[in-house]
Symmetry: C2
Subunit: 127 residues, 2 copies
């Protein structure tokens, strides 16, 4: 019977109401991702990605963890996670069953590098 807090909800919803941010969130809900990863995924300059990440961070829906030079972000807000599941459908985007992120050629973070060198031929270093 209590009215929802439309202001608060709208503010949270707004986080998804942006194509690139939605893309980031989609990637992030699957598994922690470093910025270079998202950069490769979105095909946008790093400062651009960092800024969108910051918007999400400052909204309190993200958590970060540093691993050497890379900073891995992941979604920490259950509410938003639930919404994303409905808007985007169940998690698919580049995540495997273990919750690790899918290696991307354009990304050179440790996770991607080792994964790539183990799986496919290391064409990465050639380019």
């Amino acid at each position: 019977m209590d009215k929802p807090d439309y202001s608060r909800l709208a503010k949270q919803v707004k986080l998804m109401a942006h194509p690139e941010r939605l893309h980031i969130l989609d990637a992030l809900r699957a598994a922690p991702q470093c910025v270079c990863h998202l950069e490769a995924l979105l095909k946008r300059p790093q400062p651009y990605v960092s800024q969108q990440v910051r918007i999400l961070s400052r909204a309190g829906v993200l958590e970060s963890e540093r691993h050497g030079n890379n900073i891995y972000y992941h979604l920490s807000d259950p509410e938003l996670l639930a919404w994303l599941d409905v808007v985007l459908g169940p998690v698919a985007e580049g995540a495997d069953a273990l919750g690790r992120h899918q290696p991307i050629e354009e990304c050179s973070c440790p996770t991607c590098a080792t994964a790539a060198s183990q799986a496919v031929a290391p064409v990465i270093l050639a380019a």
Copy 2:
């Protein structure tokens, strides 16, 4: 495996990313509502309400039906409806089991008027 259309989804999500619009959508998913109703509900001037309604209308998520002088709008997009159920929780906001809208004192549309005169004392006409 196919990537979601982030642009399209973001655009649709944006419809909810606004307090007043979210409020309108909440009311609208329960039952058809006329503008005067929403006006009373939001406590905002009529042109303001009409404009928000138009945004939703032009996005194709609303349907309208005229009854005499009043125009009743209702949500016609199942996708958005599903999202609203998750964001706002199950329908509650002023709808009864029959899907009629709850009469509001400030509203003078036929539905409200008759409902009011039958139920509580018609204090409405006094003010």
